[in-house]
Amino acid sequence: MTMLQHAILVLLLPLASAAVIALLLRRAGGAAAFVSTATATAIAMIAVILAVHGDRFEAAMEWLRLGGFRLTLGIKFDDLAALMLCIVGVVGLCVHVFSLGYMKEDGAKARYFGGLSIFMFSMIGIVLADNLFMIFIFWELVGFSSWVLINHFHEKQSASEAAKKAFIVNRVGDFGFLLGIIMCWWVNGTVNFSALAHAHAFSTAIPLLLFCGAVGKSAQLPLQVWLPDAMEGPTPVSALIHAATMVAAGIFMLCRIEPLMVPEALNVILWVGAATALYAALCAITQRDIKKVLAYSTLSQLGYMVAAFGLGSIATEHEGKAVLVAAGVGAAMFHLTTHAFFKALLFLGSGSVIHGCHHEQDIFKMGGLRKKMPLTFVTFTIGVFAIAGLPFITAGFYSKDAILHLAQEKNTAVFAILVFTAVLTSFYMFRMWKLVFLGTPRSDEAAHAHEGGPSLTLPLVVLAILSLVGGYTTHEGTGLIYGDRFKGVLSLIPHAEGWSVVAMSLGILAVGAGAALLLYKSGPVDSLAARLPAVFLGLHLVKESFDTAYNYYVAKIQQRFALLLGALDDILIAGVIVRGCATVAELFGLGARALHTGSLHTYVWWFLGGAAALWAFAAGWFH
């Protein structure tokens, strides 16, 4: 089989799996789980084969042609796609295996695993797409899979609301995205990534409109509101879709359209990303739900990636010549990679905790799990250190430092924001870590917590290892896991030199973690709320502000406007205008009746008039 056939196979396998589950295995949850997991295994294997084999290729075929419109579907398999495909494959497999244990008792296993398969199909479609229309198609489809999976516990009102909200908010972003694609098509005559990189017209509107898509999918301000709610979905789904892969698709898409970027657009992207990073980190501090902490942390890290992309290129010397390196792409994709590993690890770890604590999600009702769930404790701790950026041994250190280094070079204000965000990150992560694992159990559920089976722990171990070694991208370290396979992306990563970086990272970690460990007591109440109620309330209001504003808009403005238009439609058009026409018709009727006088004399005159009119018409007087 050629590599192209491998790529087509990796795209179509999960679709086939979803189709088989939907058509045949609706009542056979176990078989559905097997089919879906076997498919995920095959995907991961083919992804690695494709990456290692080293072939990079492009192929496309026409799918629809109508008049001047031509749409092709194609595969662009370069280093960027290879890297992303490996992430999706590996994390996807971990999540499938974890789900085998986590969803064992679920009544709608077939729907769940079918949803995972349709998600894998849609996500791989985004990764392999060679043009903007195709990416949009799969973009919508991941939105649909996300809806299905958030809606999994559909008997819960909150889950149903959250799924709806996620889809609609994403559609708001896609509104701009689609307009951007259409504009790009007319302005540049193509939407193919390679052709666009080759030549395109100068435009600020196109990249900004396309960025709207990323704002929705990657939950950037002001469309971030759907992601915390999406935690209503099963925890493995949160790990796969709402942390590691789908929400990162926005950053992936930005990297695809990097050639279209202009400084003004990059500046907007930079500030949106930085603002999201900071805002979400502030929100995370007051959360009580273990998954919500992680959700806000995901938002914050996505903001980091978007900001990294927005920082743009840097000029470096290469063999005596000055060249522009798309360092933003390198830093963003690098952080996307390591984040996929450690955030999937943290989410699955939280899933293990929730599973162990019999579906308790409040961190103030946990505590002391260090002894009850040792393996989860160790792997979760690795995840916490990775996100906080412990130097040298964790992957997060390298990727976060690449971003901070780039920010230092390009924009001091953003650098300051990102450093402060990093401090907040280690603060809220260690807060959660302490409350969950240290101290003594604060509820019956926590007291009777237990480690899950191998399907729950094995993915944690794999992801923990990746969270440790995933940062070694260069040969100066050990090119241990990447080799030269992804050079097209990884060679773009900006590298900081000297010990100042390490010192800064240690400082960030020490300040954030130290403050959290000192401030928070292993008790049932939030220590911040107890000691600094004003700060706590302020943070709480910051978090609530967007939802309050949007809820106000939806309930008080949009719905009322809709009701008003509905009433107008009823009264004005159905009532006045139509009734009015009816009245006019009645008047005509009255008039016509008046003509029917019953007098032969009158009729003869009418007849004469009609004949004259006909004659005039025939003679062409009215022409």
Partner: protein
């Protein structure tokens, strides 16, 4: 089978018509098999036509072209049947929706079932005839043949407010049809072709176009006449009311197929023959379509509490996209964008026909389980009827334009083409995709998710609703499969369609519309 090929289109009209008569007269036991045949045969013939469309000989772009004398030769009227690439997708769609509606009617257990089935079959014959006619007179005649049974079915088998709804529908649609007839007759009279044959009209008017003033007048008549039939804002108020009252199979056939008559007439007859007149109407039409149908009706749909009314309003809203496509053709027929818009409009018409029929079908199935259309008095139905929920969710996502369903292609192509016409209008139209997501998902959530609300909680507890039966599932599957098939494989219809739009609207200077891209600064 030369006989079959020669008379395929006529057979597809006669089969349901004769079956209709037979069903009305036959003994009760024979009625159902006869009706099955009457609904099934057109689909088999339509699939045959679709499969061999590229193979059989074409004459003026028409396949299966045959003329049957009517004795009205002096007036230039003959029963001339044929399919071009524009008609073919709609013809096949009509056959699919017809079978689905028929099968759904067979299991409906309606009172006086024979009469109901007979009227549906006559309506179906009219529908097949509309898209198979090359003669404008018969094009109109078949529309009326389908329309009259609709009124009777709404009035006799309808639900709440059926008499008022039937009256209102009759007034509106008859007025719309009369305006259209006036336009068609004017076209006939002014063209000098002395024939209702569309091919002859095209050739005559290509050689000697009408002057601009008359084109303007006639196109205006046709636009508002046909527009009323397609619920162009603000002439739409008959639609939600009528559909809410209509029995489900009649609503499926009318909203799904018959309503497309107006748009089809504009694309097949009015636009190619009256390009100058159309151009002057393009801008007002586009604004009515986007501001009226898409935005205003979109918001009105959001405010609905009644499931069937909601489906009706959503159907009115989606017609706005098709009208936007028509406006783009009107603005620049002889361009790549204009051709694309025409193709997109047809794609959307086909897709919408399938999806709205599916939604009406499922709404009725929901009603049989909840005994209400009130969205605020349902909830949690998915726990009892997961298959029904899956179908409804699929239909909802199809109608809000999710890729993988046919509707996506229609909307996408229209949006792309519309940008060339007006970026502002495109942006407003694209905003509609957010609106339709809001009301579509809201409806799905209110019916199926969460926990049962109101009186339905006690009803559902006492009589747990059963899931979709096979008799309901088969017609639903038929429609869903068609939506998915075109969604995944749009080329199934875009090949002939593209050939048709490029011939009907020949581009003056082929491509060349795209400026050469500048180098990266």
């Amino acid at each position: 089978m030369p006989f079959l090929s020669d008379h395929l289109l006529l057979l597809s009209i006669l089969a349901p018509l004769l079956a209709g008569v037979a069903v009305a007269l036959a003994p009760k036991a024979a009625a159902k098999p006869l009706a099955c045949a009457g609904f099934g045969v057109p689909l088999l013939l339509a699939l045959h036509a679709w499969w061999y469309f590229d193979v059989v000989p074409h004459d003026h772009g028409y396949a299966f072209l045959t003329a049957y004398p009517t004795g009205l030769t002096g007036l230039g009227i003959a029963l001339k049947l044929g399919l071009n690439g524009l008609a073919l997708p709609l013809y096949v769609m009509a056959a699919v929706v017809g079978l689905a509606a028929g099968l759904y009617a067979l299991q409906s257990g309606a009172e006086r079932l024979q009469g109901y089935l007979a009227l549906l079959l006559v309506m179906h014959a009219g529908l097949m005839g509309v898209f198979a006619s090359v003669d404008v007179f018969f094009f109109y005649f078949f529309h009326e043949l389908a329309l009259i049974p609709t009124f009777i079915m709404v009035g006799m088998w309808g639900g709440r407010d059926r008499h008022y709804a039937a009256m209102k529908m009759t007034i509106y649609l008859t007025l719309g049809a009369m305006l259209s007839l006036l336009g068609l007759i004017a076209l006939y009279a002014k063209s000098g072709a002395n024939s209702f044959d569309l091919i002859a009209l095209r050739e005559t008017l290509a050689a000697k176009p009408l002057d601009g003033a008359w084109q303007h007048r006639i196109f205006g008549l046709l636009l508002f006449g046909l527009g009323t039939l397609v619920s162009l804002w603000p002439l739409h108020t008959w639609a939600p009311l009528g559909y809410a009252a209509a029995p489900s199979s009649a609503a499926m056939l009318h909203a799904g197929v018959l309503k497309k008559f107006g748009l089809y007439g504009l694309l097949q007859v009015a636009l190619p023959l009256l390009p100058l007149g159309a151009a002057e109407w393009a801008l007002p039409l586009a604004w009515l379509a986007v501001a009226g149908n898409v935005l205003v009706i979109g918001f009105v749909a959001m405010a609905q509490r009644d499931l069937k009314q909601l489906v009706g309003f959503s159907s009115v809203m989606h017609m706005g996209y098709a009208f936007l496509g028509v406006a783009c053709v009107a603005a620049a027929p002889a361009s790549g964008a204009g051709q694309a818009a025409a193709g997109g409009a047809v794609l959307l018409m086909v897709a919408h026909g399938l999806s709205v029929a599916l939604l009406f079908l499922l709404s009725t199935s929901i009603w049989h389980r909840t005994r209400t259309f009130d969205l605020d008095a349902m909830g949690g139905l998915a726990q009892k009827t997961p298959v029904l929920a899956a179908f409804f969710v699929a239909a909802t996502f199809a109608s809000i334009g999710l890729p993988g369903f046919a509707n996506f292609w229609g909307e996408l192509v229209i949006f792309v083409a519309a940008w060339k016409f007006s970026p502002l209008l495109t942006a407003l139209a694209v905003a509609g995709v957010v609106i339709s997501a809001i009301y579509g998902l809201r409806a799905a959530a209110k019916v199926f998710f969460g926990s049962p609300t109101g009186a339905f909680a006690t009803v559902a507890a006492a009589h747990p609703p059963a899931d979709l039966r096979w008799a309901e599932k088969i017609p639903a599957l038929l429609l869903l499969a068609a939506l998915l098939f075109i969604g995944f494989w749009p080329r199934a219809i875009s090949g002939p369609l593209n050939a048709a739009v490029t011939t009907l609207y020949p581009a003056a200077a082929a491509v060349a519309a795209v400026p050469a891209p500048a180098a990266r600064p």
